[in-house]
Amino acid sequence: MIAPYLAVDAVSKRFGGLQALNDCSFTVERRKTTCLVGPNGAGKTTVFNVITGFIPPDGGTITFNGRPLNCLTPRNIVQGGIARTFQNLRLFEEMTALDNVIVYLSGDEATGPLAALARPFHVNNELKRKRARALAHLETVGLAHKADEVPKNLSYGQQKLLCIARILATEADVLLLDEPTSGLSQGALSAMVDMIHKLKEQGHTLLIVEHNTRMVQRIADEIIFLHQGHCLAQGAPGIILKDPKLTEIYFGGTV
């Protein structure tokens, strides 16, 4: 049997009196788009925080490509191939779109402080290369023409696309997108859906927190349904979204 690409196995996390994750288990297949759905407070963002090393789980294991992630730092996990966006974007507001992407570019070994002082010409060339790479990522998300703008001069949809350009810059294979379509206008929504399809075509594995069930139907290959920190079901959208019990929970009913 082939091991799952990304596996969350019996993970639990408690914040004081709140059990955010409770024996939560699911798998994510390579090159598929998997959506995490569930009512507010189901633990979706906590799942992201636990997978990316921002919060250590109290119990359980997370494996990626057969390797355990539990003891790794967020830095190790990004370098290992899993990157994330944030629900509240967390853009660098005083930097241009291009510099926002440059900060996220992988491979900064040769451009530390010592190199900056001792090998300025090398660092200058490296910066030119980084600018070109960052611009290519902005082109991928259709923001090359906004490279010199600071985030506040971008529309909300463009800011969300900039977040995607940033995580593309990490060269990670698995992209965790936290509510990429929330708050978007109809036009921006279509652009984001196209972007998600494009990322999948490029071979990325996507795990997406999404509230909008219509959107989930458009983008998801697989759905993971979370409730009270526990994975209640995992399967194809056609099955999960038609399950009356899950629908009742999602739209405010009880188990």
């Binding site: 990157a83 005083e94 451009t111």
Partner: protein, 288 residues
């Protein structure tokens, strides 16, 4: 001592100290109020090494920069665990401890009386006794620190440290080594402060604990706020403008006992006024 030469030299020394504070407070966002203490360690190191003829001035200055680098890393360590406002209190404590050591470790520091007759600077056998000669040294060192600051800030690493101040969590999500970046900046900042302190000791030939107390840390911060944080120009303009103030007060016919308090009062008013009405300073970008 030529009045104007002296003014420029001291302003240049404080410009190097302001660059040190700029890196730490303005760029990466480690809000330290103990940079005068680091500067003091640099000053006492150079003074003791040259007074005891242990090392020539140039070697003593290099050693002071290294010691202050390490010390600044140690003092910045709490900032890795204690965020923002709380670190101000921590660094305030570091400053008080340093001042207490300067005063009470009298066998080494000369206590409250300080150290006198510190040999003047000498580089590769050339004595720099005259202000005009010392000006050349302080200008070269300000140019060197400014150049290194500029190189650092235009590099990808410069973008990373700028980003850390704006959103540290997001930089962690980028897979960057935030710890290494903070320690690196602390090291460079400490080296700058060490150089500033060493120059101060060699130029005045006399140092005492009041030259590196909390008032001086706040003075350097005021210089940065007035000049403008996060820019090279702001770190140089602030010291030149603020150091002009005591020189001007000396020219006015007021009792000498009133000069000190009046200077402090004006510095305080300037600090509050700039924070309220132009927090980005004259040439800088907004703090916080």
């Amino acid at each position: 001592m030529n009045f104007w030469l002296s003014y420029i030299i001291v302003a240049e020394i404080f410009s190097i100290a302001a660059l040190s504070t700029n890196l730490l407070v303005g760029v990466i966002g480690i809000f330290s109020v103990s940079q005068a203490a680091i500067m003091g360690v640099g000053a006492y190191t150079v003074a003791l090494l040259t007074l005891g003829h242990v090392l020539p001035f140039a070697a003593a200055l290099v050693l002071a920069a290294l010691i202050c680098s390490v010390l600044n890393i140690l003092l910045a360590l709490p900032s890795l665990r204690v965020a923002g406002d709380y670190f101000v209190v921590t660094s305030f404590g570091s400053q008080l401890v340093a001042t207490a050591l300067f005063i009470n470790w009298s066998s080494l520091t000369g206590g409250a009386s300080g150290l006198t007759a510190i040999p003047s600077a000498e580089v590769f056998g050339f004595p720099l006794d005259e202000s005009s000669q010392f000006l050349l040294l302080s200008t070269i060192l300000l140019a060197a620190t400014s150049m290194s600051y500029w190189l650092l800030m235009r590099s990808p690493f410069g973008r990373t440290i700028d980003a850390i101040r704006q959103d540290e969590v997001s930089v962690v999500a980028a897979g960057k080594d935030v710890l290494r970046a903070k320690l690196s900046v602390s090291a460079v900042s400490g080296a700058y402060a060490g150089v500033a302190g060493g120059l101060y000791a060699a130029y005045f030939s006399f140092i005492d604990p009041t030259a590196f107390d909390i008032n001086v840390s706040i003075l350097i911060l005021t210089m940065l706020v007035v000049g403008g944080a996060r820019t090279l120009l702001g770190s140089i303009m602030g010291p030149f403008l603020l150091w002009a103030l005591p020189q001007l007060l000396n020219q006015i016919d007021i009792p000498s006992t009133a000069v000190g308090p009046l200077r402090q009062l004006i510095f305080g008013i300037l600090l509050v006024a700039f924070m309220l009405f132009r927090p980005q300073g004259i040439a800088g970008r907004r703090l916080g």
